[in-house]
Amino acid sequence: MADITESRIAAQSTAHPAKRIKWEAVGDHAILIAGALLMLVPVYMIFASSSWNDITLHREGLQFGFSDDMANNYNAALFEYGGFTDSVNGVTMLANSLILGIGFAIGKIIVGMMAAYAIVYFRLRFATLAFWMIFTTLLLPLEVRILPSYEVITWMNLGNTYTGLIVPLIASATATFFFRQFFMSVPEELIEAARIDGAGPVKFFIDILVPLSQTMIAAMFIIMFVFGWNQYLWPTLITTDESLFTLVRGIRQIMQAYSDGSTTPEYGEAAALAIIAMTPPVLVVVFFQSWFVKGLTESDK
């Protein structure tokens, strides 16, 4: 019904097409701005609140304006030692988050590229079997097998180590699958030419395939870095030693201080820590946006 009237009006108003189109565009922009605000405002409020003292935040909730406790809060979040053993501060957690994010991304890319190369470029009898074995891991996220994975790690004595933190997360084949798809799309002529020139598999891989995959590697790195940085459940289980805490894992500590209820929770510091925890991945996603979108839309399919 509305459509019919709308098209009638459209037919009548051909004399002023510019005006009608303009109003529609205003509506579109209004919806988009509302969406952008929905995304921005909560984070802005946390950011603004990270400049207030705990007592104001405790009484009045998150703030819209800025106050003068910003340096204080960030200083406390970054350099003040906290936790039960006083062995962890923001800088340590930041370093651990970086190790987890970068270590996970690099590990996953190397392991995945090697396996994908073997599957795509070699005449192996069990290549299909290997592919399916690797591919099955896409089906079950770590959360599903979390308890037995934890048992395996403790049994191997890898609790509270970077190895125990990073390697089990690599046991899913997203990167392998992604590089397999890409290698399949590389023209056959390349390998034929390389073989005629007498290039062996190692030379072909390092001199031709890796340079060719640069964009893919960058895209994968961004996705995997953000994924690794944002891990929560696994680090929560595997690291009980506070010097191994990541920033995201540190959020759990804050929450526990919250429910404590004995003293005024350090809201300002919590807000500052939340901002510190989200800044690196957000910057990576915003600055390398086109790679990120490419990596995301092409890896999940």
Binding site: A115, Y117, A171
Partner: protein, 293 residues
Amino acid sequence: MKRAAFGQIGFPILLLIPQLVIIAIFFYWPAGYAIQSSFYLQDPFGFGSTYVGVDNYTRLTTSRTYLSSFWFTVIFTTLVTFFSLAIALLLAVKADKVIRGAKTYRTLLMWVYAIAPPVAGLMGVMLFDQSRGNITQLLSTFGYDYRLGVNYWDTAAAMITVSIWKQIPVNFIFFLSGLQAIPRSVREAAMIDNASGTSRFWDITFPLLAPTGFFLLIINITYALFDTFGIVDTIVKGEPGNNPMTLVYRVFVDGFRGGDLGGSSAQSVVLMVLVLILTVVQFRFLERRIHYT
């Protein structure tokens, strides 16, 4: 495999070893262990375990707390999936349409992807806090007494809102790239044939977006089932009590807090079966999609 492949045997096996070893130790072993321990009852003091058959599973079907988590997860997943998809689709259609500022909108609508679920959960706790949360205060001016962590559905509402918020960017990115993949010629033909924007959307754009939508549906269900763990955990502040719980959160609570390895493993296996069903559905559909295009 490529036609002109290399013939070596040793080298590719060497290349495959790291990946195969990692998945053997950290995937197949734990998954097998979960299936095995779901048929055993662990001694609470850690002295061995007894084979109990399917007892752990039947225990689940009669457990009131498990069933309530199950139904909560169904409601939670449905709402999160529906709203995050609907909002993202609306925004993507508009972002695809506007000419001015398209890139800025894209950035502004997708960056939240990078925020970790527990960080989003922390923000949710601050906004919905029982006494001083800004949204709580807003609701109280309308006369609603919102009580996070006390009222079951109030807590659920916070979990659902934060989970939707966190998932909009992913859906937006996929919908937008799906929209941009629709050929210009199709759009122009539709413009000529059809004057109304609304019917053009439902008749042309929406069906062409259906594959993206279906793929996203699976992604979103998986998200709501598993990736929201951090949100749920921060919103209940690590103290579940009588608060709503998703199935994954219960696996964690029963296994680590309750020390019930058998029951927790049985829950894991139930989730595994659920994911397997989802994946099979997805693959059948993807196969069909290949024939389409």
